[in-house]
Amino acid sequence: MNAQRTDLLAVTRGLVKFGQVSLLILMGVGAAIFIGLLLGEGKRLPSFAGELASKSPEDAMRALRIGLIAMIVAGALLLALLQQLIRLIDSARIGDPFVPESGRRLRRIGWLLLAFYVCNSLTISPAQDGFRFPPLSLSGLLTVLLVFVLARIFESGTRMRTELQETV
């Protein structure tokens, strides 16, 4: 049972690590497009820029740049979040997840997740009549709340365990 749990954690860690590497590659591609747009100085818009590109190329270029910056920042936030998640998994794998650092890590993950959703809401995508902002994710906000509640539970759990350890 314990070995199974450790295996599951090892698999999860591997997946998170894979996610980190994939994200780095995506961010590199995003940065390359952004640099390309800067060098292009609005002369050529990518094919995915939508109809807005033909109506108002300057607006389309500005929107694309904002969207790409938001995407890169969101990616960086997600990288930091995944790093915290790896450390959390490691503390569970090595032995004891109920340490004060776990609560702090979960709280950090909550803030990073919130910042990620805010950034993500600025990531615009091309549409038929121009660009559109992604809809506000209710499930995302609920996840943020859930992480904060979990952080609180971990802090209480850590406190209770310390007390139990000091009970004779």
Binding site: E163, E166, T167, V168
Partner: protein, 68 residues
């Protein structure tokens, strides 16, 4: 902490060592040592009962309240 554990005095009075007590009450020496040095945050009723039984004393003999 204002509540003091007088385990050392009781053991001395009964010419008993911590190891003897540990054997009688079934609590590890490490835990009894935590209790003796006043590092314990709490004490179970079962522990108190076992120590009182082994040392033939009352809880009041083992614990003492002293204002800071």
């Amino acid at each position: 902490m204002p509540v003091l554990v007088r385990l050392d005095e009781l053991l001395h009075e009964r010419r008993m060592t911590l190891t003897d007590l540990a054997d009688r009450v079934g609590i590890t020496i490490a835990n009894l040592s935590i209790l003796k040095t006043g590092k314990a945050k709490a004490m179970r009723f079962s522990t108190l009962e076992a120590i009182c039984e082994a040392l033939q004393c009352q809880p009041g003999d083992l614990l003492k309240f002293e204002k800071d």
